[in-house]
């Protein structure tokens, strides 16, 4: 018995730990880092206590916490799926340009309004359309005679992503008085989450995640190589397309209202793969939980480390400050332990 089986045996403990982390930081975040006491928050949650307390818990903290869970879970599982689909630990919604694609759509929706569709629906719709268009553009560029080599795909993703980010910056620059809002949004931030946003985001992320989890066995076979998966009866092209569309859907939903929150999809599945091995039937649900817990922790930190005059840092800054150094450390020190070469 070596590491592989040991990792498998750890699975229940890991799920328990993720649940615990998620719960603890949810409670901490709900009490908005000690602005309320646990007791006050608890009673307010049950609809008791003062009106101010109820307002803080129900209209400010709870939507933010729930949005953080949804976005974290979505980005976590989308990252895990993309890494498996492209058999590459560097793949994530960000690297393939999907986040940039979604953010361009959402930025257009933020900047321009139309009479016939409320902005609340316009933003995620444009984010999804733009995210899908990005996906197909990247896929089309990297398709060479019916084959899509991983290297070309990643490079195409990076190139298209840079172009789209530049367009978002251009839009930000031209937006004039609305600029302040968009700048804050491009940094990734949860403070403006509302119940209405959640009602739109939740079903999208739920549907996308369901597609992904239900394909996890096929995904395992695809990790061995397309030929292996075909031999085992997986319709590789169809499953891959389904998974990519689901990833685009989830990414667009995650980006639409809170902006680009980086490194969740990269770091969370990475750590979990080290801990529990590559089996997607376990890894995908764990990435949902782990992504949510990770964003919960980052949200907590974003309030603890922010100077009082600012209150809360945009969460995208915190995830990048934690995620990027961790990822560099992984690349340098633990290449052999991440379940890839």
């Amino acid at each position: 018995m070596d590491g592989a089986a040991k990792r498998k045996g750890r699975t229940p403990a890991i799920f328990a730990a993720l649940f615990l982390l998620l719960f603890v930081f949810m409670v901490l975040d709900l009490t908005q880092a000690y602005v309320l006491t646990f007791g006050e928050a608890f009673w307010a949650l049950l609809g008791k206590g003062t009106e101010t307390h109820r307002f803080i818990v129900w209209e400010m903290n709870l939507p933010r916490v729930i949005m953080a869970c949804l976005v974290g879970a979505g980005l976590g599982i989308a990252g895990a799926v993309m890494q498996a689909v492209f058999r590459n630990p560097m793949a994530s919604p960000y690297i393939l340009g999907l986040s940039s694609g979604a953010s361009l759509g959402a930025a257009v929706g933020l900047t321009f309004t139309v009479a016939w569709l409320p902005q609340m629906l316009m933003i995620p719709l444009l984010a999804f359309v733009s995210c899908m268009a990005t996906l197909f553009l990247v896929y089309y560029i990297s398709n060479i005679g019916g084959r899509v080599p991983t290297e070309t795909l990643l490079l195409a993703g990076i190139a298209v992503g840079s172009l789209l980010s530049a367009l978002v910056s251009l839009l930000t620059y031209l937006a004039g008085e609305q600029m302040q809002g968009i700048v804050y949004w491009t940094m990734g931030n949860l403070t403006n989450a509302t119940w209405e946003n959640i009602l739109i985001v939740a079903p999208l992320i739920f549907a996308g995640s369901l597609i992904m989890v239900s394909s996890s066995r096929d995904l395992n076979a695809m990790m061995l190589g397309d030929a292996h998966a075909l031999d085992l009866g997986v319709e590789v092209k169809r499953v891959r397309l389904q998974l990519l569309v689901a990833s685009a859907l989830v990414t667009a939903a995650a980006v639409a209202f809170v902006g680009v929150i980086g490194f969740v999809g990269l770091v969370v599945p990475h750590i979990l793969r080290i801990l529990m091995g590559p089996d997607n039937r376990l890894l995908l649900p764990a990435s949902l939980l782990g992504g949510a817990a990770f964003l919960m922790i980052c949200d907590y930190i974003s309030r603890v480390i922010a100077p009082n005059s600012i209150g809360i840092l945009p969460i995208g800054i915190v995830t990048a400050l934690i995620g990027a150094p961790y990822f560099i450390y992984l690349l340098r020190r633990r290449r052999t332990e991440v379940g890839w070469d």
């Binding site: 030929a227 031999d231 085992l232 009866g233 319709e235």
Partner: protein, 262 residues
């Protein structure tokens, strides 16, 4: 079992296989042989619908493969591919269990019966002791046996082996071929071996197919197919097929290359 009818396959206008007609019989061990690049691996992929022919068709017990889902095909035909490099830390048991995939629905877990089939496949290929090891820590030969176990876990009627001896030490080469040969005799498994390793494979084949110039050059029992003439044309070697009393089987003696130099 498997029938190939008037099959032609082109890769970017380049003919790879032309007018292939072939009947693979139930329970036989059939070798598809030819020099490297003659299209024999392509033929193997066509037998499993991993590639689609431009002309002609492949029939599995009378049904055109083009009309079947990959999943349905995988319930009848298992493949042991040539390259078996796996970069992920799946356990051996994980990989062998994948052989049950074609029989399971999306959210359906492996039943006790599935687990029993997986265990049996690992016992037959002598890898049970490795069951909990990570596949990416194993040698090429060990991995090959894991993939063969996975194919056996599919409980196939036909098993397609692509260059099965390529990555193996000489003792394991015999082991693997002995195993599939035994399964063919005892359980009626149809075995299709694609190889360029003529001397190795000849011992096991009931019939052989020689591929030359994109076409079937000869089909039949080894003593009819491996004439000096045919081996000269197809492999460019001077060789004779003899019956070896010590081995109790056919044996190819290679005398040298046709180009005359020694």
């Amino acid at each position: 079992m498997l029938a190939v009818k008037d099959l032609s396959f082109k890769y970017k206008e380049m003919p790879v296989l032309e007018d292939i007609d072939l009947e693979i019989r139930k329970g036989e061990v059939i070798g598809i042989l030819g020099p490297n690049g003659c299209g024999k691996t392509t033929l193997l992929k066509l037998l499993n619908r991993n590639l689609h022919p431009q002309e002609g068709k492949v029939l599995l017990e009378g049904t055109d493969l083009e009309g079947m889902s990959k999943r349905r095909i995988a319930r009848h035909i298992a493949v042991v591919p040539q390259s078996n490099e796996i970069r992920f830390a799946f356990t051996v048991r994980d990989i062998v269990s994948m052989g049950r995939m074609p029989f399971l629905d999306r959210f359906q877990g492996e039943s006790a019966e599935d687990m029993r089939i997986v265990d049996e496949a690992m016992e037959r290929t002598n890898i049970k002791e490795f069951a909990d090891r990570a596949i990416n820590t194993m040698s090429g030969g060990e991995r090959q046996r894991v993939i063969i176990a996975r194919a056996l876990a599919q409980r196939p009627e036909v098993i397609l082996l692509d260059e099965p001896t390529l990555h193996l030490d000489i003792n394991h080469q015999f082991e693997v071929l002995d195993l599939v040969h035994e399964l063919s005799r005892k359980e009626g498994l149809t075995v299709v071996i694609v190889s360029h390793d003529l001397p190795m494979v000849v011992k096991y084949c009931d019939r052989m197919v020689l591929i030359h110039d994109h076409r079937v050059h000869a089909v039949g029992p080894p003593e009819e197919v491996l004439t000096r003439e045919n081996m000269r044309t197809v492999f460019n070697i001077e060789a004779v097929l003899t019956y070896d009393d010590m081995l109790g089987s056919n044996c190819v003696k290679i005398l040298g290359s046709c180009s005359g130099r020694r």
